[in-house]
């Protein structure tokens, strides 16, 4: 366009605008006579004038500031903000710019969010933000991004969070829809995150696909908890947002999140937890339909739709959406918040049930859950699938407490006395099903996860107290053992009718393991373990009623039948025959006749190698076993030929731990439960024998154990478990004043710990220690790994002190508060390490193995337990480093030391070497070493039982679990009977410590385990 032409257009345009719309046409007829192109130019300009609205009316104000600042922060790459060395820019948002940085203290990658100055310049706003962020910091949940630190360096406020290797749900969606299964997997994890956050009174307020990260390993992480506050964001009206060049034809992008707003948010009203439920409902809808439920040409239209329009049925946009899922989404999207799901926990429960229900649909064996039975009714709070024989029993132990706290790895090195060894076998048997392995984990490469679209998982029990399960060859019955009020019983469930019959009465005297049906389906076989003495025996009981009959004595467990049902393979533990043998004896694979007669030894391994979990191949020619090296590399699967006993390793893969093995009917491979590392829950795997390939059948946060297959290999049962544990603070040890200070610390990973390695008693069960200034140092799995954390006694300011990939646990704070000592396997063997109280300067104190360190009150020593090479000594090492000294004498061994408050004595669990009868006592020995000064007889099989001196030095305290409830008990130092000190009415205690002023810190929680039925997994 030429300037002259423009001047002409401009003049006519100005005159036309001045005239007003009515006269405009006539004026233009005249002014543009004979020049139609002039006229169209002017009309186009008039049209633009009418449409331009607020375009460029408001100056660039804040945009200018932001853009100018951006240039500055970009230059931060390569620079350091405090300990954080910035390496790349990851993204930017209203909350600031996010960088990839390395925390030089721990060498870990973090996402470092620098808050914009506009944001932090408002003190009120900054304070509110910090409050919220601190609350979010206290939120430890596997589905919530972990905040490491909220801090300030010079004038820069920053938040350091876990760096997530993955992509956002937004990127994942790319405008498409997801399948029902994937949608449920993702939404269940988001709902779990919300549920934990809401419990801690944290509202997210900005749930949308951009804030949901999908990690490569399948974990879903919700970002920016507590970082968004509605009062801080622009309100819903586009008019009130900074009107920088809003061009109306480009709707929905300026206010990218209006689509996920709840009606109350859109109205600018107060929001509560239910706003997150609505937003998750929108995300759910979008995952299924490929579009959000409320759309419009402009943000205003979207908001109008949110406020007034009912969402379309998802079925309009996607096929095969179950009615029940439609119903769940609709309920989350109710405009009135009182009509919605009231809690994220409810939504989570419905999503989980729905997933189970859908999984169950194809199971024809269940007449009441036939295909098509899924209806809106299924999302009601009534459990139809669950058939709990003891509905009143909500929590319980997975097994008897001694079994949970035994450490096979360590115990096997301790005992050489014949009788002692025999008694130890009780502890060994108790944990045979899951095996308690060494401290060293195997973090192998992750196997590719295969999606099993047709896999169905359904829960058969809800009592949460199942310890064992087996399925009949025809798939009609499930036998399972439950523990309630400390008594274990065995039940038989007829799956088609959901009826339960108790076949072995509750007893405290025994516990039962290794349940298995005979191949003809007529009997349930099980190993009866005596709780108080080491006589183990194989029993069988008729499925249709009768009394148990003893088949064979002196077996260790792990039994399976030959395909013809004529023989049984089992594992026998043979103690060492003489005292000089320090290995702990042999485990052998034995074949006996089904009636218990005869025996043939097929293979054996000297402990610390452990042969377990035999599975007879369908052709009858080989028996597969797990072989676990408790000192180094974890578990492999071995097969032994039945005819000549020759051996072959099936898979080169090593797991941290492997449980029950079952052959697939076609002999192509095995199903087993196994975990990849200490911190990952045991999952169900398939191992193909031809190529040794492995793949994961389950991939979630629960742990799966005790896998048993039906004869046709189409269905399996497993015990599915999880665990919750939190830290409680009780002033004066008064349980009525106890306060829970953490929330959501419990993790499935911890659940696997608790059963795999009895000495790691779950999340926080890995130890607690007070600092002199009243903070709490504790073990937690909330980083996804076993790490040491510190926090205030109120639960705030949680900070991770260790971050290496190693397993760190049992912290003890030095008397001067300068150091934390702990057990770490970062150099291969579990050894004593020391860090400064801020987590810096890690240094090893021992090169040999050692664990359970405790700092002396004079600040000079660290006492610990050395459990390697047949030794079981209490040792000490100078806290500043130096040579270790043995404190226990040649006459006895001990474990789990703790100093008296005056520093003169050490208490420990003590085993006399030369006693005619082997048992664990509590002993005090001089702090400089020597013979026991006092001995107390407190029955336990658990040499690793935690003991702490009370702060006044007058009692020795320990955890006593009775009928599924743990309390702290105290043995008066001057003698007399132990006294119960706390009066908790529920839950287990995993670990505890007393502060100098007598305040009790303890990790308490529950474990749940139920039977699940899985089909369609191949």
């Amino acid at each position: 366009m030429k300037p002259d032409r423009w001047r002409q257009i401009d003049e006519i345009f100005q005159a036309a605008i001045d005239r007003g719309a009515a006269d405009r046409a006539a004026f233009l007829d005249h002014a543009c006579a004979n020049d139609p192109s002039l006229r169209s130019e002017v009309e186009a300009l008039i049209d633009s004038h009418d449409k331009a609205g607020s375009f460029i009316e408001a100056p660039v104000f804040e945009a200018a500031a932001e853009l100018v600042e951006d240039s500055e922060t970009e230059s931060l790459i390569g620079r350091a903000i405090g300990p954080y060395k910035i390496s790349a820019k990851l993204g930017a948002g209203g909350m600031g710019v996010v960088y990839l940085a390395e925390d030089s203290r721990f060498g870990r990658k973090v996402a470092l969010k620098l808050l914009p100055v506009q944001f932090t310049s408002d003190e009120n706003r900054l304070r509110r933000f910090q409050q919220e962020a601190r609350a979010a910091l206290a939120l430890n949940h596997p589905n919530v991004i972990t905040i490491f630190e909220i801090g300030r360096y010079d004038s820069t406020h920053f938040i350091a969070t876990e760096f997530i290797d993955g992509h956002t749900l937004r990127d994942h969606l790319k405008g498409n829809s997801l399948g029902v299964n994937e949608t449920l997997d993702i939404s269940i994890q988001v709902a779990a995150a919300l549920s934990a956050a809401h419990e801690a009174h944290i509202i997210h307020r900005d749930i949308k696909p951009e804030n949901i990260m999908l990690r490569r390993d399948g974990y879903v992480k919700v970002l920016d908890f507590g970082l968004a506050k509605p009062s801080e964001r622009q309100s819903a009206s586009p008019e009130s947002t900074t009107a920088f060049m809003r061009i109306d034809t480009d709707p929905g992008t300026v206010l990218g999140t209006v689509n996920y707003m709840s009606p109350e948010q859109a109205r600018g009203l107060e929001v509560d937890e239910r706003t997150d439920i609505f937003s998750l409902g929108v995300v759910l809808f979008e995952m299924l339909a490929g579009r959000t439920p409320f759309e419009g040409a402009t943000p205003n239209d979207v908001i109008a739709s949110i406020l007034s329009r009912e969402p379309q049925r998802i079925a309009r946009y996607a096929n095969e959406i179950p009615d029940a899922l439609e119903w769940v989404v609709t309920k989350a999207l109710v405009k009135e918040k009182t009509g919605r799901y009231q809690t994220a926990a409810e939504l989570l429960a419905d999503l989980k049930r729905l997933k189970q229900r859908l999984d169950f649909e194809t199971l024809e064996t269940l007449p009441d859950i036939a295909p098509g039975a899924v209806s809106t009714k299924t999302t009601s709070r009534t459990e139809i699938v669950d058939t709990d024989p003891e509905p009143g029993s909500q929590t319980g132990q997975v097994a008897n407490s001694p079994t949970m706290s035994s450490a096979e790895y360590l115990i096997t090195r301790i005992i050489r006395h014949k009788k002692a060894a025999a008694l130890t076998s009780a502890a060994l048997v108790a944990i045979s099903a899951v095996a308690a392995w060494a401290l060293i984990g195997l973090v192998g490469p992750s196997a590719p996860t295969t999606p099993f679209e047709k896999m169905k998982v359904t829960r058969l029990t809800t009592s949460g107290n199942v310890s064992q399960a087996a399925i009949s060859p025809d798939g009609k019955y499930v036998a399972y053992a439950t523990t309630s009020a400390g008594q274990q019983s065995i039940w038989l469930k007829h799956i088609p009718t959901s009826s339960d019959v108790q076949i072995v009465a509750p007893t405290k005297a025994f516990y039962h393991t290794d349940l298995v049906f005979s191949p003809d389906g007529n009997y349930v076989y099980y190993v009866q373990n005596a709780a108080a003495n080491p006589v183990n025996a194989l029993y069988r009981i008729p499925v249709l009623g009768g009394s148990p009959k003893k088949v064979r004595e002196r077996i260790h467990g792990g039994l399976c039948f030959s395909p013809d049902g004529m023989q049984i393979a089992l594992i026998r533990w043979r103690p060492s025959s003489h005292n000089s043998d320090e290995s702990g004896g042999m485990k052998e694979l034995l074949i006996v006749n089904a009636d218990g007669s005869g025996e043939r030894s097929l293979a054996e391994r000297r402990i610390p190698l452990m042969l377990d979990n035999p599975a007879w191949s369908p052709d009858g020619r080989v028996i597969a076993c797990t072989l676990t090296d408790t000192t180094d590399n974890g578990a492999t699967v071995l097969q032994v030929r039945v005819d000549d006993g020759s051996e072959k390793t099936i898979s080169s893969r090593k797991w941290f731990n492997a449980g029950h093995l079952e052959w697939l009917r076609d002999g192509s491979g095995l199903i087993l439960s196994a975990s990849e590392s200490q911190s990952s829950p045991s999952q169900i795997w398939q191992l193909t024998t031809a190529d040794g390939e492995t793949r994961r059948i389950t991939n979630d946060l629960n742990r799966y154990e005790h896998v048993r297959l039906t004869a046709d290999s189409k269905t399996l049962v497993a015990v599915q478990g999880d665990q919750v544990s939190n830290i409680w603070i009780a002033p004066g040890g008064d349980s009525s004043r106890a306060k829970q200070v953490t929330s959501g610390l419990g993790k499935a990973g911890a659940g696997s710990i608790i059963t795999i390695a009895g000495l790691i008693r779950g999340d926080c069960g890995g130890g607690i220690s007070w600092t002199p200034d009243g903070r709490v140092v504790y073990h937690s799995m909330s980083s996804g790994k076993a790490d040491i954390w510190i926090m205030d006694a109120s639960g705030t300011n949680q900070r991770q002190l260790t971050t290496d990939a190693a397993f760190n646990f049992y912290p003890s704070v030095s008397a001067d508060g300068r150091y934390v000592v702990f057990t770490s396997d970062r150099r291969g063997v579990p050894a004593i390490w020391r860090v400064n109280i801020d987590g810096t300067n890690p240094a090893p104190l021992t090169t040999d193995s050692g664990t359970y360190p405790r700092c002396s009150p004079d600040g000079k020593w660290v006492a610990y337990y050395a459990g390697g090479s047949g030794n079981n000594a209490i040792m000490r090492v100078p806290i500043e480093g130096g040579d270790a000294q043995q404190l226990t004498s040649q006459n006895g061994g001990g474990a789990r030391p703790d100093y008296s408050p005056d520093g003169n004595q050490i208490v420990c669990n003590y085993v006399a070497r030369n006693a005619a009868d082997w048992f664990v006592q509590m002993a005090t020995i001089p702090a400089n070493g020597g013979e026991p000064m006092r001995l107390f007889n407190i029955f336990t099989l658990d040499l690793m039982r935690e003991i702490h001196w009370t702060s006044d030095g007058r009692a020795l305290t320990y955890i006593e679990t009775r009928d599924g409830v743990s309390n702290i008990w105290g043995q008066p130092i001057e003698g007399g009977s132990p006294k119960q000190l706390t009066d908790f009415k529920s839950d287990l205690i995993f670990s505890f410590d007393w502060s100098r002023d007598g305040t009790l810190a303890c990790a308490r929680g529950t474990q749940n385990a139920d039977v699940v039925l899985i089909s369609g997994f191949r």
């Binding site: 660039v60 790349a88 100055v117 990127d171 920088f244 300026v254």
Partner: protein, 194 residues
């Protein structure tokens, strides 16, 4: 008096006296000062503070110019220069940001609506800059009016004063400039899309 003050004052006088070359020397000085000021503002933590380009330009003027010895016209000249410099700063950053987003390939950690707003702002600012350049070619004064008002944050009276025209003229020219720019940007978008 700081040396930069002497320099800027002198340059403004020379420019006012018709020396067009003075403008070329003036813009970089003002540009540097604006950037410095902007950073300074961003770092300073004043409660309730909002950075405004007009304030920035005013402060730059106070710092750069010996205003007691200036003719009032020089102030207008300064604002015209400052708005131009500001535009250059903004567009440079907008282009940098736009490019980074498009070509950077960085992993996104969290990207909320405000990021989209500013990302969009960056794209829009670039589009506006292109349109303003086109407008300047056929109607420099209208382009200047938009610069002063939108980038410099001046109101109609101030703009009128700087350009030495009547406020009514500013108003009239503003509305046609706005319509022209709007149309130009829309057309460019349509072309981009096809």
């Amino acid at each position: 008096m700081a040396s930069s003050q002497v320099e800027v004052t002198q340059l403004l006088l020379e420019w006012g006296n018709g020396d067009k070359a003075a403008l070329d020397k003036l813009v970089p000085v003002v540009y540097q000062e604006l950037r410095r000021l902007a950073r300074h503002y961003m770092r300073r933590e004043r409660p309730g503070h909002t950075l405004q380009t007009s304030a920035l330009v005013n402060e730059a003027y106070m710092r750069l110019v010996d205003y007691e010895h200036m003719r009032w016209e020089s102030r207008a000249h300064f604002f015209a220069v400052a708005a131009q410099a500001m535009r250059r700063i903004l567009v440079e950053h907008a282009r940098k940001r736009h490019f980074a987003k498009r070509g950077g390939g960085a992993i996104r950690v969290s990207f909320d609506e405000a990021a989209m707003v500013s990302e969009k702002q960056a794209a829009e600012l670039i589009a506006l800059d292109d349109a303003l350049t086109s407008l300047e070619a056929i109607d420099p004064r209208k382009s200047r009016i938009v610069e002063l008002r939108y980038i410099g944050g001046l109101n109609i009276e101030e703009t009128a004063e700087v350009l030495d025209i009547s406020p009514a003229t500013v108003q009239r020219e503003w509305r046609s400039a706005k319509a022209w720019l709007y149309r130009d940007i829309k057309q460019a978008e349509t072309i981009d899309e096809t």
